[in-house]
C-alpha cells in the first residue's frame, strides 16, 4: 500500500518521499483513532521504506502541528474503570505509542517534522522522534504535563535529553512554558525556522536534497548519531504510570476537561 486515508491521518509515498499528514480536529490530539492509524502506518513502513529516502510529517490543521494526547478521551475512557484498570489502560496506550515512535526513530529514512503553531506535549514528542524539525516561525513548543501532575509520556524526556543540554530540558519540563521557534532553534531543537506557512514547502525541498545521498550511508549516519535511549524510554513509561495512579491526576484531568478557562493551553 502506497497511500492511506484515515480519519485522523493520511499518507502517501511518491518520488521517494513519504508524506504523512495529521488532520484531526481540533488540533490533532492523539487519541485511540490517531494511535490506531499511526500503528497502521508503522506497520506499512516496512514495505515501502526500502524505496524511499525521506518521511515528512506535517499537519493540515491551521491551529498547529499537534496539541498532544487527547486528554478528554483519556479522562472519559477512564471513568468507567477501576483505578488499577485505568492505569493498565494508560500503560497499554503508552506502550503502543512508544512502539510507533520508536519505529519512526529507528527508520532508515531521514524523517522530517514540518511544524507550525501548537506543537505541545505528545505533538512535541512526535516531532522529537524525527531527525529534523523544520518550524514555521509561528510554531510554539511546550511540555505542559506538570500542570496535570504528570510527566511527558510519549518519550519526550529521553529524547529531549538526547538532543539538548540539561538546563534547557529542565526549563522546558519544570516551568511548562512554551517557547517560540527562534528560541527552539537557538536551543538546538529546530534545524530551520521558515516563514509563516512555509514549513512543508521547505521540508519538501530538504527531502529532495536528501535524495542525492546514498541511502545506506544516510541510514548508517543516523544510527551512529541518534541512538534510541530504550532503557530511559521504558523507565519513562513506568514513572508516568506511577504518577498517573495518584488521585491528584484524575482531579487534574477533570479540571482540564471541565475547564472554561480562556487559557487552557497556558501553564
Amino acid at each position: 500500500m502506497k497511500s492511506f486515508q484515515g480519519g485522523a491521518i493520511s499518507w502517501k509515498a511518491a518520488d521517494g518521499v513519504i508524506e504523512l499528514t495529521l488532520d484531526h480536529a481540533p488540533c490533532n490530539e492523539i487519541g485511540s483513532v490517531t494511535l490506531e492509524e499511526l500503528e497502521r502506518f508503522a506497520e506499512a513502513m516496512g514495505a515501502i521504506e526500502h524505496e524511499c529516502h525521506a518521511l515528512i510529517i506535517s499537519s493540515s490543521r491551521k491551529e498547529g502541528f499537534c496539541a498532544g494526547a487527547d486528554l478528554r478521551e483519556l479522562y472519559r475512557r477512564g471513568q468507567s474503570l477501576a483505578p488499577g484498570a485505568r492505569v493498565a489502560q494508560v500503560r497499554d496506550f503508552l506502550e503502543r505509542i512508544h512502539g510507533v515512535l520508536n519505529r519512526l526513530d529507528a527508520s532508515p529514512l531521514t524523517t522530517i517534522a514540518a511544524v507550525h503553531g501548537v506543537t505541545f506535549g505528545g505533538g512535541f514528542e512526535l516531532a522529537l522522534a524525527c531527525d529534523l524539525i523544520i518550524a514555521d516561525k509561528m510554531a510554539r513548543f511546550c511540555f505542559p504535563e506538570l500542570r496535570l501532575g504528570l510527566i511527558p509520556g510519549f518519550g519526550g524526556i529521553p529524547r529531549l535529553k538526547r538532543d539538548l543540554g540539561n538546563g534547557v530540558v529542565r526549563d522546558l519540563l519544570l516551568t511548562g512554558r512554551s517557547i517560540n521557534a527562534a528560541k527552539a532553534q537557538t536551543a538546538g531543537l529546530v534545524s530551520q525556522v521558515v516563514a509563516e506557512g512555509d514549513a512543508l514547502r521547505v521540508a519538501r525541498t530538504t527531502a529532495s536534497q536528501l535524495k542525492k545521498f546514498d541511502r545506506e550511508a544516510a541510514a548508517t549516519a543516523k544510527r551512529f548519531i541518534k541512538p534510541i535511549p530504550r532503557e530511559e524510554l521504558r523507565r519513562e513509561i513506568d514513572l508516568f504510570c506511577e504518577l498517573f495512579a495518584r488521585p491528584a491526576v484524575e482531579a487534574g484531568l477533570r479540571k482540564f476537561v471541565e475547564s472554561t478557562d480562556a487559557l487552557p493551553y497556558l501553564p
Binding site: 488540533c27 503553531g117 510554539r140 516551568t175 511548562g176 517560540n180 527562534a182 480562556a262 487559557l263 497556558l266
Partner: protein
C-alpha cells in the same frame, strides 16, 4: 528604551494588524480576549508576534491573570 505608553501603542498596533480589528476600536484598558475575540491558541499567536516584534522572551506563565493591553505592556516593558 520605549516608554510604557509607546510599548502599549505598539501592542495595540500589532493586535490590530494581526487580528484585523481597527486600531481605533482598541484601548489600553480593554480585555484583549474579549475585544479581539480570541481563544487561548490565538493568544499564543499574539505572544509569538510580541516576542518577535520586541525581540524578547515572554514566558507564557507571565500572562496568567493578564487580560488587558496595558498590563501586558508592563510585562513586556520589564523585559526590554
Amino acid at each position: 528604551m520605549s516608554t510604557l505608553e509607546e510599548t502599549t501603542e505598539q501592542i495595540l498596533q500589532l493586535a490590530s494588524g494581526h487580528f484585523h480589528v481597527p486600531r481605533e476600536q482598541l484601548r489600553p484598558e480593554d480585555d484583549f480576549f474579549k475585544t479581539l475575540g480570541i481563544n487561548s491558541l490565538q493568544a499564543l499567536d499574539l505572544l509569538t508576534h510580541i516576542e518577535q516584534h520586541f525581540r524578547i522572551e515572554l514566558p507564557d506563565y507571565e500572562l496568567q491573570g493578564v487580560s488587558d493591553f496595558r498590563t501586558l505592556a508592563e510585562r513586556i516593558q520589564s523585559r526590554l
